[in-house]
């Protein structure tokens, strides 16, 4: 299992960078494809991910899965999508530069060279002659104005809170759930049609998840595909069933 310092939460890029460094790899597409599973495992198992950051972790998971699927099916990738991968590599390289700089800054802070300025000094101390009065009446300030400003502030804080209301997302199917579903299906039916399987999906996300689940099982050598001729229906079956037959 991967060991990541989880006592302080880290952003998705930080987690990626750590995984790549653990593999002693450079920041490349190959490295990203290789660590995709570990990243997913981290997101799944980590209890320390701040809820506000979860969305960003999931976006990154989607990008990695995409890169991984490209490693499996390279001919499916367009030039535009290729660019997105390069962009992620660049983003990660730059992030790394700042992480390195932040280590140097941490060293600087560690030296404890804090500088001090006198704060809140009595205004008549430090001055030769001429006293400044201790109370200066503020212009245009009345009890009513104080009241109005304070009421406005409270209202503003309430509006802010309403905005921060939590929204729960509709439950979505996960790749793991899909994998279990595929296994059950094949235990019952021995084989199924790939296109019909995808048609059962209720949303685009589900199509992607189903597709990734099938790819994952193929990669793990659990599944094999049968196709009679080019562009005809693809059938999915357990590798073991195929061998036993």
């Amino acid at each position: 299992m991967i060991e990541i310092n989880t006592d302080k939460f880290q952003g998705p890029l930080g987690v990626l960078l750590k995984l790549i460094e653990q593999e002693e790899m450079d920041i490349t597409e190959i490295a990203l494809a290789k660590i995709a599973d570990e990243y997913l495992a981290y997101v799944q198992n980590s209890e320390n991910i701040n809820p506000e950051e979860m969305a960003d972790f999931l976006v990154m998971a989607a990008r990695l899965l995409y890169i991984k699927s490209k490693a499996l099916l390279p001919y499916l990738v367009s030039a535009e999508e290729e660019e997105e991968i390069v962009e992620l590599e660049n983003q990660l390289r730059m992030y790394k530069e700042f992480i390195e700089a932040s280590v140097k800054i941490a060293d600087l802070v560690g030296e404890k060279r804090f500088l001090f300025s006198p704060l809140l000094i009595n205004k008549n101390f430090r001055r030769s002659k001429k006293e400044i009065p201790s109370f200066v009446a503020p212009k245009n300030v009345t009890a009513q104005l104080i009241h109005d400003r304070f009421a406005e502030l409270i209202e503003r804080l309430q509006v802010k809170e309403e905005k921060l209301d939590e929204k729960s997302l509709a439950p979505k199917v996960s790749i793991d759930e899909r994998i279990i579903h595929i296994r059950e299906l094949l235990t019952k039916k021995l084989r199924f049609s790939f296109s019909k399987f995808l048609q059962q999906a209720k949303s685009r996300t589900e199509v992607i998840v189903s597709f990734l689940a099938v790819l994952e099982l193929a990669k793990q050598r659990e599944l094999v595909f049968e196709q009679d001729e080019l562009f005809s229906e693809i059938h999915v079956l357990f590798r073991d069933d195929k061998i036993n037959n």
Partner: protein
Amino acid sequence: MNLKSQLESLLFVSSKPLGVVEMSDLTNTNFEEVEAALTSLAEEYKAQNRGFILIKNNKEYQLTTAPENTNLVSRFLKDETSGELSQPSLETLTIIAYRGPITKLELERIRGVNCSLILRNLLIRGLIEDKNDKTKNENFYSVTLEFIKFLGISSVSELPDYEKLHRSESLSEVIAQPLSL
């Protein structure tokens, strides 16, 4: 270690005059050396035409602005205290009026920004005062009696809707939010 530089740091940052004994303790140096270094500093300031001078009063030393700049400095301090209150200062003042006594951190959580400079400005104008609570070792800010009188009331509780606004729950919630760094 450079004694003159050390003494200069202490005198610069101190908000009260400093005695030779205290400076001697802090710098771990004997009285004679401290006094010699202070004399030498005082001469340097004059020779170099610096913007401050070192003055001595009953064995206590303090830095003050150079006499030839007194008018400039007074103008600056007067501008600071007599100018119109900025919006952030006014907002801070209203929070202290309705919620005081209140700590700096509580104020900052409500306003979402650091308030050091604003508090300093309100203190200089004599609109607020701070009191140290020794058991909690924290400073609490309240509006001054002069300011209350200026508003034409005799206590903050006479501010409009005081009971209701003073207890506002949304403020208490903001104050209770955890801060992590």
